[in-house]
């Protein structure tokens, strides 16, 4: 379809975890020229040059190749691999993620979307104590106390306050902002604390203690050592009619890791003895929640899944991208729609440099890879469905045409070739 000048309403921005779906895009001369309602981060994303430029559609060992050649080589690498790893997957649709899990199943690969360092502590905590949570529309309509714990949405999720958590008038919060008490808890003042009603300063490595103290106070335990700001905070939490506690990945990265997340989840859970309280994350850009959801429904666990036994196993210590690479256990890597090098350790990156890599993504052919397959950009050129961190699903409304295949098309073709490669099926280890 040619790009006529046109507008697209209700488009979804994938530049941060808010996934604002009210963007009105104007397309002119093969570019998005306006993104109404988008914040500066979102506008920068939409208005960027998403064209392939002079990048080739595919490369092998850095040399331009046809799609045909590159797919052939990619299939060969994966078919030969004894211990393949599939990573990335955050900047793509549920449909593509589902295909990637199918390929992992076929290959007996390990698969670990996104950054497990960010998300595993939260999942491990949820697996121990559960989580009392809500969709963002519930926060908008009900919450009269909002806690931002170690997160600064004004900086990272600019429209979060306006759309979901602070500004909107809701059925049970008809006054909007005036009907909500906003508390920021952080190690230093932030852009968000500047607009909050209260700021409580904490020390990063003492978060677990503070959360445990709050929980004790909420449960009516005398805590003579507790300092006044913590006491006051406990009072605010207890007297909420419906509170919302937003936290981020830093909580799991602080001293104590998943135990600290567990303290937060237990605090929120136990607030429900006396009132209503829910815990939520802010979510990441693209579709990381979707990757976890697809992996869960197809393989039973949200990340770090190893198919090498012929069925999925959740191996949180062994099947993360970091563990597979830094311990030198992966012998080929398929990287889809993301660049994991940013969060991998030096050892992991070094191993990545030693083994064959297949990269699929909009900028793949300008990255280091044995085989690179240049794809359309999700939400700009290619559609599909994405999932917000609270489980809401959104259909994408791609605005631009491209000559590049979508990552789903690349994967579908790759999978077909894998089925056609003659020879033995991969040995299944007992």
């Amino acid at each position: 379809m040619p790009d006529a000048d046109r507008t697209i309403a209700d488009a979804t921005c994938t530049a941060c975890g808010c996934l604002c779906d009210d963007i009105v895009l104007t397309v002119s001369n093969h570019r998005i020229v306006a993104a109404e309602h988008a914040c500066p981060i979102g506008a920068a994303w939409f208005l960027a040059d998403h064209g392939p430029g002079d990048r080739p559609i595919a490369t092998i060992e850095g040399q331009p190749a046809t799609a045909e050649q590159a797919l052939g080589r990619a299939a060969e690498i994966l078919a030969k691999s004894r211990s393949p790893l599939i990573v990335g997957l955050t900047r793509t649709s549920l449909e593509t993620q589902a295909r990637a899990v199918a390929i992992a199943d076929r290959l007996g690969a390990a698969i670990d979307p996104g950054d497990s360092g960010d998300s595993l502590p939260r999942w491990r905590a949820i697996q121990r104590v559960g989580i009392v949570s809500a969709t963002l529309g519930e926060v908008k309509n009900r919450a009269d106390v909002i806690v931002f714990w170690g997160v600064d949405p004004i900086t990272t999720h600019p429209r979060h306050l306006e759309r979901y958590s602070v500004g909107p008038r809701g059925r049970f919060v008809p006054e909007g902002r005036a009907g909500r008490t906003v508390v920021v808890v952080d190690v230093a003042p932030t852009a968000t604390s500047a607009v909050a009603d209260r700021f409580v300063r904490i020390v990063a490595d003492e978060q677990g203690e503070v959360l445990a103290t709050l929980r004790a106070l909420v449960l009516g335990v005398e805590m003579p050592e507790a300092e006044d700001p913590v006491r006051e905070l406990a009072e605010t939490l207890k007297t909420a009619r419906y509170g919302a506690f937003f936290f981020g990945p830093d909580l799991g990265r602080s001293r104590g890791g998943e135990a600290v997340v567990e303290d937060a989840l237990k605090l929120v859970r136990d607030l429900n003895h006396a009132t209503r309280f829910v815990a939520l994350t802010l979510g990441g850009p693209g579709n990381p929640s979707g990757a976890e959801a697809v992996l869960t429904w197809q393989a039973g666990s949200p990340r770090a899944v190893d198919f090498s036994a012929g069925f999925p196993q959740f191996l949180p210590d062994d099947a993360t991208a970091e563990a597979m690479l830094s311990q030198g256990r992966a012998d080929a890597v398929l990287i889809v729609a993301d660049d994991p090098t940013g969060f991998l350790s030096g050892e992991a990156r070094a191993h990545l440099g030693r083994i064959p890599t297949i990269v699929i993504g909009p900028d793949a052919t300008s990255r280091d890879a044995t085989v690179a397959l240049g794809s359309a950009t999700m939400g700009i050129h290619s559609g599909g469905t994405i999932m917000r961190c609270d489980g809401a699903t959104l259909p994408l409304r791609p605005a631009l045409a491209t000559t590049r295949p979508s990552d789903l098309e690349w994967l579908t073709d790759l999978e077909r070739r894998l089925t056609e490669i003659p020879g033995e099926p991969r040995a299944i280890s007992p």
Partner: protein, 546 residues
């Protein structure tokens, strides 16, 4: 055109009043009348002589897809008690109480079931559920969409605007791709979500909405009746699992007078005793079953409890909190905008625990005390009472009083004092089993091409090797055929078809849509335009492979 002939089996097809040796012919996925020429040949013939041939099983109330099921999978690594290995033509998966999508499809098929209905999907989670259905092969799927705590619904009821309510119900069924209307603890979930506690009676006011559970129940029942959708309102009443709840169950049944309705997992709603004296809990099945026996507008499924570890999951958020507080086990709760909560808690039913043992007996009492098998469907409310994989065990308790009495002996003595199960001598026949596991639920769902083997029926057939060991007979069908394809042959999974998703599309007046859109955009956290699920939600893109 491909034809399949299932030759010479004992065909048990109660919907067509058949229990006789005969052939079943399937052409292009549908049952056809056999050719008059006895020498006619089919593309494939299965010799079923000596075997029992039934329509594929229909599970009308289970939880197999969507956000709550997926939350249960993710938060219970310890529940991955088994797995299915991949083969050249099938996917791998994990089992346990909440299997993965592919495993769910294969396991249902392996059990001779070819249709399953997820009974509780939030409107907000509909698209997610459809994605999981796409990955649940070998069976046909459908879901019921939650409406009993829906803000738009409650507002229209308060205003007494029946017309707009009916239009909205029709619109929502279309927008979510749902099969029917579900009401879970009407008004009670909203009340609990907003911190007012659960409802205890049908006439308690839902704060902020000015309606009562009774009004929600009867008005939604009326809307479903007026729309003439195939399945009537599907009700999960108030006070699930609480001692003394039989009184509010009776109240609920009576409130539905004049409407068609299905009461879900009725076992969980049949307890005597009281909240102050939970130790006095006993079976109140006789009075409730008597009510069902004398009111033909109502049907039930059981929600049988089976002993072992499982996962409770419900849209009734208050129940989730209750279970967490009594078991002390981990708890997922999710409040979902406009409509519903969600609670997920692991639970272990122990045969040494009086309450659990009583729940087990109460479930069996239900099967035995409802006179007309067409009005009671087999369910464990999978996975709430236990896995659907327990159906063969339940069948054997129903078909053999001996087997039942043996099991009863292992339970605490007080069970016999508090449930009349030991006195019930009824034994189900094969034909009655065929009714409660396929013909009846299909009829209750209004799925006219399912649950029978007459011409035009779906080519979904299960072939069993007869045995006096009923549990074994029903656990291991000899053949399972879905849409004319053999999917299970002697326990082996063959290349299974995807199965389809069934939904209804009652018509509504388009002029109501702007009003819904305005309300939606003001209240929801996503845009109205991005809410409705569409068949074409699959990826769209402009690029293509060169």
């Amino acid at each position: 055109m491909t034809t399949l002939r299932i030759k010479g089996g004992r065909v048990i097809d109660p919907a067509n009043a058949i229990d006789a040796e005969r052939d079943v012919w399937i052409e292009d996925g549908r049952v056809i009348a056999g050719p008059s020429d006895p020498a006619a040949r089919a593309d494939r013939t299965i010799d079923a002589s000596g075997y029992v041939v039934m329509p594929g099983g229909v599970d009308m109330h289970c939880h197999i897809a969507g956000s709550k099921v997926n939350a249960a999978r993710a938060f219970r690594p310890e529940d991955k008690t088994g797995h299915i290995a991949r083969t050249g033509h099938s996917r791998s998966g994990t089992t346990g109480s909440v299997p993965t999508t592919f495993a769910t499809g294969y396991k249902y098929a392996g059990l001779g079931y070819t249709t399953a209905v997820d009974a509780a999907i939030a409107p907000f989670g509909a698209r997610h559920a459809h994605h999981e259905f796409r990955d649940t092969p070998a069976i046909d799927k459908a879901f019921l969409v939650l409406m009993g705590n829906n803000h738009y619904v409650m507002d229209r009821i308060r205003e007494g605007d029946r017309d707009r309510l009916r239009q909205y119900v029709a619109w929502l069924l279309n927008a979510t791709g749902a099969y029917g209307v579900k009401a879970v603890n009407p008004g009670g979930v909203e009340r609990w979500k907003e911190g007012h506690g659960n409802v205890s009676s049908l006439d308690q006011m839902v704060e902020g909405f000015g309606v009562t559970p009774r009004q929600i129940l009867t008005e939604l029942a009326r809307a479903a009746d007026d729309l003439a959708i195939p399945h009537p309102i599907h009700v999960h009443g108030p006070n699930l699992g609480l001692p003394g709840n039989f009184a509010s169950t009776l109240e609920t049944l009576a409130a539905l007078d004049g409407h068609r309705a299905h009461l879900a997992h009725i076992q969980f709603h049949s307890y005597g005793g009281s909240l102050d004296k939970p130790g006095k809990i006993d079976s109140q099945v006789p009075i409730l079953a008597d009510y069902i026996n004398t009111h033909r507008n109502l049907t039930v499924d059981v929600g049988q409890v089976v002993f072992g570890d499982t996962t409770s999951m419900t849209a009734d958020g208050a129940v989730g909190q209750f279970l967490h507080s009594v078991t002390g086990r981990k708890w997922i709760s999710q409040d979902i905008e406009q409509e519903t909560g969600c609670g997920v808690v692991p639970i272990t039913y122990e045969n040494t625990n009086l309450v659990h043992a009583l729940q087990w007996a109460i479930g069996l009492e239900w099967y035995l005390r409802v006179d007309d098998p067409w009005r009671i469907a087999m369910s464990t409310d999978h996975p709430n009472g236990g896995s659907f994989l327990a159906y063969p065990q339940i069948i054997s308790y129903l078909m053999s009083r001996n087997h039942r009495d043996e099991a009863l002996k292992a339970l605490p003595d007080r069970v016999r004092a508090r449930s009349g199960l030991a006195d019930l001598s009824r034994e189900y026949s094969l034909s009655e089993i065929a009714i409660i596991t396929r013909a009846g639920p299909a009829r209750m769902l209004g799925m006219t091409s399912k649950g029978h083997l007459g011409p035009g029926a779906d080519g979904d057939v299960t072939i069993y090797a007869p045995s006096n060991d009923f549990q074994r007979m029903f656990s291991l069908p000899r053949f399972v055929i879905k849409s004319g394809h053999v999917v299970i042959d002697d326990g082996e999974l063959r290349s299974p078809p995807d199965g389809t998703t069934l939904s209804v599309s009652p018509s509504y007046d388009e002029s109501i849509v702007p009003d819904i859109a305005e309300w939606f955009d003001e209240n929801a956290s996503i845009r109205f335009a991005n809410f409705a699920w569409q068949e074409g939600d699959a990826p769209s893109h402009f690029g293509s492979l060169p």
